[in-house]
Amino acid sequence: MNLDNIEKLAKLSRIELSEEEKKSFLNDFKSILDYIGQIKEVITEEPPKEVGVLHNVMREDKIDENQLSSKEEILNNVPDRSGDYIKVQQIF
């Protein structure tokens, strides 16, 4: 692991880091990866296909009137809105 790896991970994670933090994260990652690397010594089989016991949890695709929040309450949390629209910066 080196500083280039840290920069790539920060980019993939959509996180801006200062130069100083990149160095301190590199340091942390080395000791954490060293610790978690000990699982490599365990003899294992194929990983299970599912982590949990429940599978294929389905529900009807219909609106539950009791679960509706008001449009205004939801839009009040939007950092940048224009009327009933959420504003985002230009993408293309």
Partner: protein
Amino acid sequence: MQKINLKELIIKKAKENLAAGDFTARELAEAYLKSIEEKNKDINAYLEVFDDVLVQADRADRKIKEGGAGALLGIPFAVKDNILIKGKIASAASKILSNYRATYDATVVKKLKESGAIFLGRTNMDEFAMGGSTENSAYGVTKNSHDTSRVAGGSSGGSAAAVAMDGALAALGSDTGGSVRQPASFCGVVGLKPTYGAISRFGLMSMGSSLDQIGPIAKTVEDAEIIFKAISGYDALDSTSFPEKMRESIRNPKKVIGVPYEFIEHGGIDKEVLQNFKTSIEKLKTNGYEIKDISLPHLKYSLAVYYIVMPAEVSTNLARYDGVRYGVEVKGENLLDTYNKTRGLGFGKEARRRIMLGTYVLSSGYYDAYYNKATSVRALLREDFKKAFAGVDAIATPTAPTPAFKIGEKTNDPMAMYLADIFTVPVNLVGVPAISVPSGRTKNGNLPLGLQLIAPWWGESTLFKIGRMFEA
């Protein structure tokens, strides 16, 4: 009105007093508000005390007068800041959600409201429940009321400290790797991590989705049981919630408790904690329990597995915080730059560290070596527990390897901080229930310690039974 002795109060007694008219729900709530006003400036358990506490209390008083039932009618609660209460701020102690106002009630909150509980406020925590000391909060550390130079534990440190300082009769926390049990142990109160799927997580901010459970923090095992009964149950709104008919426990009334001695004594454990644990084991023996030395061969890999699986889930769950639909936005030159700045400045150091670690273990080229391998070891650990529970009713360990540590002691060494969870994380990895019960104090500093009891899946009643006997 009689003077309310908050120190001695438990849920059952409070309900008797309320029913008999010894004091009203309003007077009880006022007593807690006064206690919070006195103590919170030193402890920092609460991020916010709600402005409608007395309105809620008056509503409870009207119901009491009408002879209304409700398992928690008039009981004042503190709620961790990652659980939604409609109309209230829920920030997960993060800057990125500092202005987020919940638009609906979490199912646990809905159930508490139906039971008549009163919400005093929202409690401090490690940001997004990531940490073992509440030092990762964007709003300052929560101090331990037994020694204010020490942490209250975490991540539900505010909830545990609120109960310990008599700032609430009970509280809700969340537990992904020990975040209810460890602060309960540090603060000298009871904390329960129920079976995975027992309590609905609808309205709990997701951290590690295969690990998270909401749990009660209370003064006694009986109180924890009362709250557990009020908030557990199937919920169609949570796809990890277990249908009632699948909630079957192994019946194994042998009065045998297993202890993985080799693992417990293997380095890292404080001498006084180990001595206290041995005393706890003697107490269980005196009460007629046979103690069996058990071996869980993969237990020593738990923390390594946890620090792969959990960050992987964190990195996906926290992808939603982008400053577009809610929370705080930090504008950049373009949308990508806005994401980078919003998340770079909005998340604290530990959140960013775990998101990036999770991104790493899930990235192409490392996925098999880390995530897949960890998932395989996790399956082996589950088998270890299954085999062990064929011969014991419960497993006992200390809750944490040390008593509450000094503020700042571990903040520059993440790996040292992670080791504080060594006894609690295996429980979340396999999904079984566990409880932390106070087990005495250290001789050096008079700090609380806790005994962790672990039962098989859906064996909460076993925990309550042994726990009640132990605390007597």
